[in-house]
């Protein structure tokens, strides 16, 4: 009998390694406004060839966030509030607040009407369906 010893973390490691490897990816090339701009973006491809952008923005509420789509570009802007209340004495200050404005352009055509956004737990998930005209078509060999 074969030992079915599945490592539950194996998938996680492979994924984390894949994330690291992609750091050198030229997928967006000069299309985005530089690395290091807030908020950091990860772009994934789903099984159906549609894309998902997962963006980390802890402390940004839904109301403080603005999203715009035009063609293949998405603009994400808003304000991250860091508030200490009235008379607080600081011990440690690491969080940084302020306003941000970032535009990402994808090298594929999007279907703007089907883009959905969900902001929850400090993570913004943008699902970016490809435009019908951009989808690969199978060619029948006669």
């Amino acid at each position: 009998m074969a030992l079915a010893f599945a490592d539950p973390f194996d998938a996680l490691f492979r994924f984390q390694r894949a994330l690291d490897q992609q750091l050198e990816s030229g997928w967006l090339e000069d299309l985005t406004t530089g690395r290091g701009a807030f908020p950091p973006i990860n772009v994934f491809q789903q099984q159906g060839s549609d894309f998902v952008a997962i963006i980390e923005m802890p402390g940004v509420s839904k109301d403080a966030l603005r999203l715009e789509v035009r063609g293949d570009t998405i603009r994400i802007s808003g304000t991250k509030m860091v508030d200490y209340g009235g008379n607080a004495s600081m011990h440690r200050r690491e969080r940084v607040g302020g306003s941000f404005d970032r535009t990402i352009s994808l090298p594929v055509q999007l279907d703007p009407n089907r883009i959905t956004a969900e902001c929850r737990d400090g993570i913004l998930v943008l699902s970016l369906p490809r435009a019908e005209s951009d989808k690969p078509k199978a060619i029948k060999v006669s």
Binding site: S25, R35, G36, Q47, P58, S89, R92
Partner: protein
Amino acid sequence: MASAQELEVQQKRALEKKDEATVPARIYLPTTDIFETENALMVVMEMPGVVNEHADITIEDNVLTVTGRIDFSKYEKLQPVYTEYNIGHFQRSFSLAPSSIDEHRITAEMKDGVLTLTLPKAERVKARKIELK
């Protein structure tokens, strides 16, 4: 918006542990603010992607430890094509001055991926105003 300072991404710092964890997953340090108000010590931690049920807060031997686990299953069927940050669990510990905190009245709140801990000061350590006669 030329005058406004642009918000930059803070690189995630990996947790450096003296002892190894049994779980070999990557753990990051949540960006943390700590400040003191009249009645409490406030600890504010950024843990994007951690839901209430996956955040653990413990105090043992005057060490406050906060652990946040992310739900990895959402990422299972995704293939990364462009990345700017890595994902992992969060953990961070702080030593507190002995018996300075009223441990039974600690409250925690999670909002937009930011955990706010209110650690009420013990009566003993509260500032006392001295009347001048």
